[in-house]
Amino acid sequence: MISIQDLRKQYGQFTAVDGISLEVQPGQIHGFLGPNGAGKTTSIRMIAGLLKPTSGRIVVNGHDLATNPEGAKASLGFIPDRPYIYEKLTAGEFLRFHAGLYGIDGSGVDQRVREMLDLFELGRWEHELVESFSHGMKQRLVMCAAFLHRPQAVLVDEPMVGLDPRGAKLIKSVFKRMSEHGVAILMSTHTLEVAQEMCDHISIILKGRIIARGTVDELRELAGSEHEELTPVFLKLTGGSALQELDEIV
């Protein structure tokens, strides 16, 4: 479970995240939607322990990130938007190293590594250097690492960037399966179709504040939209009416 209370982040005079609160229950996929620069990645990075919040509280599976960062991180999987992987390590070496960081040791590691590589269709690349991987393959390798230590909560920043349709379908099914097993997933995305298809709950963030939250139906109701698609609802809530003026500009 991920719980955020009144989280704020200020860069000098600029407030990137302005007192957001949300809860992601076990087994729930929570979509975090918002236009560029709304504060999605900043929030995700604070929850991952990469940025220090100006104020607020983050609790991951009962561990307060400020007072027990190791406990919180041990039960969390993080999938960044631009993953860094040691280019000169093989996929297998990278995952074994990752396992060691999370205190996973012993004979079970090799089996778990192969399991994850097979799950993400990277089995035959185990002994190849990461530098020879495409962006999509690197993304899938990072997901292998994120799920390797069987986290109870997962943070995902833009999961579908660079993935081909087959890869995207695979990731969607993995996330669905993980949530069925009780993993709480907080996923930031631009792809509204993905959010509509996968998320049980959605929070829409704009200028650092959560302006709407609920299921897709609840959001549709809130926006007073009759459309089936999430896109018009999102545009209405985030002030996308400027798009309507495009014709005049063009």
Binding site: R45, G49, L50, L51, P80, L101
Partner: protein, 563 residues
Amino acid sequence: MYKSFPYLLLPAYWSSRNRARGSDRSDRVRAWVFGGVGMLVFAALFWGSFWLTTQLTAYEELGDFLLRIGLSWLFLTFLSFLAFSGVVSSLSTFFLSEDLKFLLAAPIAIRRLFYARFVKTVLQSSWMVAVFLLPVLLGVGIARCAPCMFYVTALLTVAPFCVIPVALGTGTTLLLVNVFPARRARDILMLMGLVFAGSIVLLLRFIKPERLLRVESLPDVTGFFATLQSPITAMLPSFWAGETLFASLAGGRDLLHAGALWTTAAACTVMLSAASERWYFAGFSKSQEARKARFTKLRSLDRLALALPIGVVRRTLLIKDLKVFLRDVTQWSQLLLLLALVMVYLYNFRVLDLDRIPYMAGMIKNFYAFLNLGLAGFVMATISARFVFPGVSSEGAAFWIIRTSPISLRDFLWSKFWIGLVPVLMLSLTLTILANEFLGVDPFLKVVTGVAIAFMSLALVGLATGMGARYPRFGADNATQVAGSPGGVAFMIAAVSYILVMVVLLGWPSSVYLFRMSRIHVRPFQIQEIALIATCFVSAVALSVSVFVYGMRTGVQALKELG
């Protein structure tokens, strides 16, 4: 059960192993070239320290005194170098390294991360010092027939000696990053580096080592030693290291100073670890925030470029390249450092008192003029390798903008050429003209070397631009990495070969001419002699033009063939 901190160093080890396994032919050639040069330097250092120590042994007590001072001075120099190196390395290892985002998302205690990163910082900062000290101390030990214990002591002395200044440097970085955003802290550090290098140059000039060569200044020798000894205080680790090693040279033991070294190193590490636990994450978080760097708009550059009689495409490329260069402190601070060294080089020509050798002065001056031509050429080659060769590579991932624009690749490469030529030509002409003026060489030579350096600038900049396009490294992190690539090494080899051929082609006819003119009864030149001299000069010009044309043509061709 979480693993101990050395586990965090495994990726670096595995990466090096994989890199060695996957090395191709060009990597092996580079390793051999650098290994060979390294062995030569190692041999020279060993021989130098062995010879010097042997000479000092002949002076008994004075020799011992000088050796003791020498050791302390050696360590004092390294002390400041290590402290500065520690500041720069720790900024990268603790705050800017890409893998930190991955490691900090994992459940790793800050203390474990600190120890792993600190070991990395110490190794990165001090490997060069250790490599330098190895042949020097080996030379000293063998010359003084030191016991085996000396070498063990050397190892046990150098290790804590390296830790202390690097810990201080890391502490400074921790402080700086908590005060300034990391990216601005890096700029500040680069300027600090410049000040550091400048002060070393000033210190050397202050000591004026050339005074020792003058017989009339012998009474000042005591003063000279006093100057040497003054910065050495018993409170500095360099003094402790020097004393420990000097004692073990004669088979003794200086446990007091050895103990001071080890306890200080341990105390520095423990205190730094505690400070890291308190302030590291705040500093790291701040370093992630500072995306916006302060920069100058350089509007005068736009106005200047507008005044130039060049087309809009070339002007746009010129403005872009100059702004990118001037806004990157790491680039121009190195150039400033180079200029400072050139000033010292010229100053040395000014203080060179060749008239003390009346019969040889003329000949030596003219010889120096050619030596200066070669050295100026070498300076040009180095500047071209560092600043002109990476020109195309510096486009990096943004090269698609050029390739998809309606710009001919010829125009693009020519803009790189002009940006390189103007400063290189100005610098090399200044260097040659001023040095010749200070030396007071023959007017004929002034003209020959002046014209030659202009042609050499043209050839070297053209070759660097072209070869930079033939061997681009778009994925390199910085220009230094591009300059050190196999293509950069190939350029340096080609450039040095060209400079040597030029010095020979110009040196022979000039010496014949000057020899004739120096005789009391000037004998007129015969037609064959004039033909030979003219052939040499024409060949030098033809060679320069050919190198330039070949470099640029192959460069444009290579850009067109890029996949």
